[in-house]
Amino acid sequence: MFYSAKFWGGLRGIINVMLVVYMLAPLVIIFVISFSSALYLTFPPPGLSLQWYEKMFSNPTWTRTLVTSLKIMVPAAIAATVLGTAAALALSRMDSKWALAVRAVLMAPLVVPVIITAAAIFGVFRIWGLYGSLWGLILAHVILTLPYVLSTVSANLAVFDKRLEDAAANCGAPPWIAFRRVTLPLISPSVMSGMLFAMVISFDELVVSLFLSTPRVRPVTVQMWSNIKGDTDPTIAAIATVLFLFSLLALLADGIARRRSGREPGL
């Protein structure tokens, strides 16, 4: 039996199906339930309706927190993209010994368990009066998302041919123009990628937000957290679906950007 190709093929098939079910089923179920016509969480739903999405968009708690999430995400992602890209550029031109050390410091928020970052930032921001302010949340999200931008852009710069900048200079382009006309267009797919990453991380972020937010300034994930711990109705499924679709959209956008630039889809 061990030698039969059919046996091994069948076993692999079973493994694949089980994996897909394990990884996807919860998300699919949430997705389906969010369109349920029932008044409580039940599966399969007796019918379909958009009532939970209506509830979500008519309930000021959800709309306000969703808007807060966006108000944090957009500036944080933009700032992380600008700072991360600038840092990646500077590091790519630095002496490798120093670059390595600085890079390690900038990447630290990705490596250090987020609970530590959250507690530390909370403690200090409270003293600085940034607790419960949008600015505090934005700053914290920049810290958390910058490493993603830095690493995606750095990976691109590592294969970027620096002589193209020399060629541009030789053609008469001052450094800033050479950067804008040659370097930036060529690394823009990875900058885009990094920004999408930053947006998704910020939009989904819970731990740091949990520490820094107050009922007045509260992103949607924190609201979800407190609702899940209390009573759960399918509105949360609708919110979860929105969050999930947002990530999926970002993933698709990234895939398209990568394909257009001819790079392999990264893992």
């Binding site: 030698y3 897909v20 530390a120 920049v142 989904d204 979860a240």
Partner: protein, 274 residues
């Protein structure tokens, strides 16, 4: 070259931000852990001597360890299947395994809650078809925590394994059995040792990341499954007990740091040997 100096200023904003809003806060945490209520190591001594804290430390290591073992047991066949699948199936599997990278842990933990809770889908179905009379407790316990964590951390095991397996010649089974080894022997004597580097890296990554986990155990676990991250949160959020929370955070930081150093050292050794 001077080009480096000319662009050095581009680093300043990022370094400044990380320095002021990350490095300083972490060092502030370290300071609080040793300076309150008086200077000394009393908070650390408390963590390593009081049974409630020791219990949480043990939980943390036990849950991270169990997650690692489960990830290895599931990740191994998954990675193998991925390597030997047809291209489009492989792409699908990679996409599926990568989903955790892209979806909020909160969303996925919530999904498990919907499926597993007493009034959840599984209990509904099982009670509905009459297999059980009373709903089962399959969440708010260790089982729920592990189910959720393994799903989130699986990619960290699968991808290192995948990259190692992809380099092993597929015909090894035939070669080994041809030389007289039984398939089981061939697997343990030849294939498994070849996969060990990937397995080691994956296991370390899963373990380290699991140590600091917060959301999944907090949502899917019970009172007996509190991990260190949750304890830090509660100490600050409910009691404002900064000295102890800081000390716990520093213990976690040092623990992760040490494990990372070990990974680095091992991979350096391995590279040195080849």
């Amino acid at each position: 070259m001077t080009a480096g100096n000319r662009t050095l200023w581009l680093l300043i904003p990022a370094v400044l931000l990380i320095g002021v809003c990350f490095l300083y806060p972490v060092s502030w945490l370290l300071q609080r852990s040793v300076s309150e209520p008086v200077w000394g190591l009393q908070n650390y001594i408390a963590i390593f001597s009081k049974s409630i804290y020791l219990g949480v430390l043990w939980n943390t290591v036990a849950i991270a360890g169990a997650t690692t073992i489960l990830c290895a047991l599931i990740g191994f066949p998954v990675a193998y299947s991925m390597v030997h699948a047809r291209p489009w199936i492989r792409k699908l599997l990679i996409f599926v395994v990568l989903i955790p990278f892209w979806t909020s842990i909160l969303v996925r933990s919530f999904a498990w809650l919907v499926i597993l809770q007493r009034g959840g889908i599984i209990n509904d179905i099982l009670v509905g078809i009459g297999m059980i009379a009373e709903p089962l407790d399959i969440v708010y316990n260790r089982f729920g925590v592990l189910l959720g964590m393994v799903q989130v951390l699986l990619p960290f095991m699968v991808f290192p394994l995948y990259s190692v397996m992809a380099r092993i010649d597929g015909s090894f089974f035939r070669a080994a059995t041809n030389l007289g080894a039984t398939p089981v022997r061939a697997f343990f004597r030849v294939y498994l040792p070849l996969c060990l580097p990937g397995l080691g890296t994956g296991a370390m990554l899963v373990f380290i990341i699991a140590l600091g986990y917060f959301i999944t155990p907090a949502l899917l676990g019970g009172r007996g499954d509190i991990m260190i991250a949750q304890l830090i949160f509660e100490r600050i959020d409910e009691f404002g007990d900064w000295p102890l929370a800081s000390a716990l955070a520093i213990v976690l930081l040092i623990g992760t740091g040490l494990l990372f150093a070990i990974i680095k050292g091992v991979s350096k050794l391995r590279r040195g040997r080849i």
